[in-house]
């Protein structure tokens, strides 16, 4: 049984700078994997490779055991890997439905309607409501402009959208960093629900409490290498911080 997503000996250098020096890790379907590390540890580079934004210098990415190589973010997306960046990529003045369906609009049934690109607004709104309800997001009205939502609701919309259209792997970049306490909790709940549907979630975060609360396992990156792979009783704040700062040492786990 192969992992949902795995990387083997992944390296990336930008000129003389070694961003990744041979990272190996995996994430299973339905698992939430935390990726933590100090600035410059290689988290962003990992994210960019997995989301198809940059090519690795060497090493492999395996999706369901098959080697994959994404030429563009769209290719990664089509393969089932969605990324929610910190900026969320929402169109602020467009309503929740338009954002939820952006690029995947439902057209009305008949031939002429398809020809002119006539949107089936009612079906799209109904589908948005059911998807958002299923994930228990607290968005009061799907016809609100996305900028009129709270920060947590916006984050929830971006995650729900990514989860709805991809289905295999969800990459989250610092999803709670800009939120208040209650909204952080809502987003963490949402991450749990997404993973419960069988999606593999990779959570990149600086927030140790978030990682401890929502992740089944966490990988610590340090200087472009995996410094630790922590789960169960080893997944503690002390260990995470110890490996992040280099106070604790360990090999590839």
């Amino acid at each position: 049984m192969s992992a949902r997503l795995a990387v083997r000996d992944l390296t990336k250098h930008y000129g003389g700078v070694q961003a990744l020096q041979g990272v190996t890790l995996h994430v299973e379907a339905g698992e939430v994997l935390g990726v933590v590390g100090d600035n410059g540890a290689g988290k962003s580079t990992m994210l960019k490779i997995l989301s198809g934004a940059v090519f690795p210098s060497s090493g492999q990415v395996l999706l369901d055991g098959q080697p994959v190589r994404f030429a563009t973010p769209a290719a990664a997306h089509d393969a089932g890997i969605a990324t929610v960046y910190q900026d969320l990529a929402l169109a602020g003045q467009r309503d929740v439905v338009a954002n939820f369906f952006l690029g995947r609009e439902t057209l009305s049934g008949n031939w002429l309607a398809r020809r002119v690109g006539w949107l089936d607004g009612r079906a799209m709104a109904a589908h948005t409501v059911s998807e958002l309800d299923r994930l228990h997001t607290r968005i009061p009205d799907v016809h609100l402009a996305s900028r009129d939502l709270s920060g947590g609701q916006r984050q929830a919309l971006a995650i729900a959208r990514a989860a709805a259209w991809t289905g295999k792997v969800l990459l989250l970049d610092e999803p709670t960093s800009a939120l208040g306490v209650e909204q952080q909790e809502q987003v963490l709940d949402l991450i749990r629900r997404v993973s419960a549907e069988g999606i593999a979630v990779i959570l990149i975060s600086h927030q140790m409490p978030d990682v401890l609360r929502v992740c089944d396992r966490a990988v610590v990156l340090r200087l472009g290498l995996v410094a630790a792979n922590l789960s169960g009783t080893d997944l503690t704040s002390e260990n995470l911080i110890g490996y992040i700062t280099g106070a604790m040492q360990g090999g590839q786990a």
């Binding site: 089509d78 990529a89 169109a91 602020g92 952006l102 690029g103 949107l119 009061p140 009205d141």
Partner: protein, 344 residues
């Protein structure tokens, strides 16, 4: 509000707030429509000639040209761009259409040569479309800011229009052109008004109800979001600017039909009026927001000001002053209301 109560009250408050925010767009259209209505009533009281058939025909013929340009401009502005070239393209396209007709008849123009007229009209629309295509290509692929691109094509189209006949209008075209332009259905609906109405309704549905319209607004709102969603933003920008050019071409046909000649200067003042109409109608110059109905009302306000002020004996030079003041006032009020109602 105490901490414990906040939890129970929040959903109700959120829903109320949501309905209020949703109503905001409708209110915007409503109040600007109210301004138009108030102007019509005021001019109707101020002049016995305002609410007459003659003035309707006069006002509507001015409005059709501006409206067609404004409709195209609405798409461009909603997509976060600007098309400064539409007026100049109108002038060039009309002159080009007339020039093609003169090449085909090459002699004394006959009364009714339907084929020649059709080819000339098609040439005018194609000339407009070609400029739109060039604008779209330069904006989408060359990445030059729309303001610069269309300021450049404004100059180029103006120059080409003058080059066709040494800066003179071309009036040696078949008389059936003017006949077509001055045909009036039932005394109240000139053919150009009918054509404009059909195109405007079609474009209104295109912007509000179709995928093309949705992408137009989303591109203007956040091009990054559109690109990340895997949408070919360049293709849509190309189509949006081309649509604007084609509508300028259609407007040039209607102007040519009204004047019975192709004149390179015919769109010179329509340019800023069209942009003003779109902005008065509630579209955001930053993109992402705008409606065709808003632009129709904006055009109506400008057309009513232009003809109404003359009828109440205000010197015509005040027209431009009034349009400029309404433009600034409309945008200011819109900003004020946005500031008040928006959560942040």
């Amino acid at each position: 509000m105490t901490g414990t109560k906040a939890g129970t009250q929040a959903p109700a408050v959120a829903l109320h707030h949501a309905l209020w925010l949703r109503g905001r767009a409708a209110v915007r259209d409503l109040w600007i429509g109210g301004v138009l209505l108030a102007l019509i009533v005021a001019f109707g009281i101020g002049s016995p000639y305002f609410l007459t058939r003659a003035n309707w025909l006069n006002t509507s013929s001015t409005a059709t040209e501006v409206l067609l340009l404004a409709v195209g401009e609405t798409f461009v502005i909603c997509a976060g761009g600007i098309d400064l070239s539409v007026g100049a393209v109108l002038g060039f396209a009309g002159t080009a259409g007339a020039w093609v007709m003169t090449q085909l008849v090459s002699g004394a123009p006959t009364g009714a040569s339907v084929g020649v007229v059709a080819v000339g009209f098609a040439a005018a629309v194609a000339a407009g479309g070609a400029f739109g295509l060039a604008n779209g290509f330069l904006v989408a692929w060359a990445g030059i800011p729309p303001f610069v691109v269309t300021l450049g094509t404004l100059g180029i189209a103006t120059g080409f229009g003058y080059l066709l006949n040494n800066g003179q209008e071309i009036s040696a075209i078949p008389g059936s052109v003017a006949t077509f332009g001055n045909t009036n259905l039932g005394g109240w609906v000139p053919v150009p008004v009918l054509i404009t109405a059909v195109i405007t309704i079609w474009c209104g549905l295109l912007l509000a109800k179709t995928r093309f319209g949705a992408y137009t607004l989303s591109i203007g709102d956040s091009r990054e979001a559109v690109v990340r969603a895997g949408i070919n933003d360049r293709r849509y920008l190309l189509e949006i600017y081309t649509l604007s050019g084609i509508l300028a071409g259609v407007a040039s046909v209607l102007v040519m039909a009204r004047l019975g000649a192709g004149s390179p200067d015919s769109g010179a003042t329509d340019n800023l009026n069209a942009i003003a109409a779109v902005v008065i109608g509630g579209a955001s110059l930053f993109g992402g927001r705008g409606t065709i109905i808003g632009s129709v009302i904006g055009t109506g306000i400008i057309a009513v000001l232009l003809t109404g002020l003359v009828l109440i004996n205000v010197p015509p030079f005040w027209q431009e002053v009034a349009v400029g003041a309404v433009l600034i006032g409309a945008v200011y009020i819109d900003q004020l209301r946005n500031r008040k109602t928006s959560r942040k």
